[in-house]
Amino acid sequence: MLKTICIVLLMSISSQAIVESQIQKVMDKKVHQVLNILKNKSLSQKQKEKKSTLVMDSVFDYATMSKISLGKKWKTLSATEKKQFTNAFEKKIKHSYIDKLRLYNNQKVKIMALKKPKNTRITLENEIIGKTDTYKVLYLFYKKKKTSQWYIYDVKLAGVSIIQTYRKQFTSFLKTKSFKELVNSL
């Protein structure tokens, strides 16, 4: 019985998103967890990626990221195409995010202040203190209306929005090529 309760508790903790008051604390823990995984020399790169993405999965809203990155094109897609794209884009985003963190895995990370530009938006700044430079990583959260939980919908690295960059690329790509080609290119 105790075992069952423990499992249920653990499952609920790992799958939950973040409430507003916990954003800094949870993100601090998650970012350091990921950095520790990336520093672990006993793991292969593939293992590091899998473990790291598991840590971040509950706060990254890949589906919303996929929608935003496709812009108006999203609404024209069938349910199957949406699923296809979301799966491909989720893989791409995970790999890209972990690959960037991998490059800084020997650096210090400082969680900075949280800002709330409007009721449904929160930004959390991280500073990665590198060998010679300090890089800013900004996590952008939105509040899911039905549950009042917060999810990441974009990450800005040194002032560059990952999702905005993809959105521009996808818009441009789809002017001359098909949706199928886009999914394959991911």
Binding site: K41, S42, L43, S44, Q45, Q47, E49, K50, K51, T53, L54, D57, Y62, A63, T64, K67, I68, G71, K72, W74, K75, K82, K83, T86, N87, K91, K94, H95, S96, D99, K100, R102, L103, Y104, N105, N106, R121, K131, T132, T134, Y135, K144, K146, L157, A158, G159, V160, S161, I162, I163, Q164, T165, Y166, R167, K168, Q169, T171, S172, F173, S185
Partner: protein, 294 residues
Amino acid sequence: MLHLDYIIIVVQSRNIYFRGVSIKPIFIFFIIVLSFQGCSNKQPEVMIKETILQGKISDKNVSSSDEFSDEFEDEFSDDFTDETKSHYNPFDAYNLLMTSINDDMIIHVINPISKVYDATLPQQVRIGISNAIHNIKFPIRFTNNLLQGKFQNVSEELGRFLINSTFGLAGFMDPAKEYKGLLPHDEDFGQTLGFYDVEPGYHIVLPFLGPSNVRDLVGIAVDAYASPLVNVRGLENYKIPQNFVQSAGVYTGYIINENSLKLGQYESLKKDALGLYPFLRDIYEQKRVTEIEE
């Protein structure tokens, strides 16, 4: 992460005009290097159970996403822009070609040299050299913070320069950051122009060194006056290099040194690109907007 630096070597003086304003020290040879940082990753020794590590692409995301479908466009339309119009840029064909040349240069020339340099010189020494060069370029940051009226930054930059030039052994160390918590405030004349609402103008990819635009090109030329590392005719007493060859030598060394501390970053960034030129152009312009806003 994109890091941009440049070399400017004034070959001769000639007047050019930018929006009716004559700019004197021109005919410059630019090298801008996109330098990226890497790290070594050791190979695995221990296998971990697949079942524990498995990070499946869950269908829940897709289904739960339908909850947002109606509110989706309205919800995020203010946060993201669509590039529906293609802006005419007379340099596009040239930029495309130059991006490809620069890419070859980074992959086949700069990175291999940087890797040898990385293996030859201890990291601490290379960080020291990077710190010292950053310290010498203090007049650019000081002047541009002043021009933008950022007086707190001006004072901190001055403090950093004094502390690091003395206790930091001519800038090789950074005690101002380590012990006083004084961080650098990188500002250049391109940012100063942006601060006063000068538009970036056409995007231009510079030989060897990558993305820029008309505004930043003017900024680079003006900053050449303030930088002690760029030879400008008539200002030899203030400059470290006394001629073109010396300037080229100083900056080539600087570029290789910086790149050796950032190996792997360029390759990582390239993986995100569907087309290299528009990708590098967009992230450069986004980065500059953020730098100007800050």
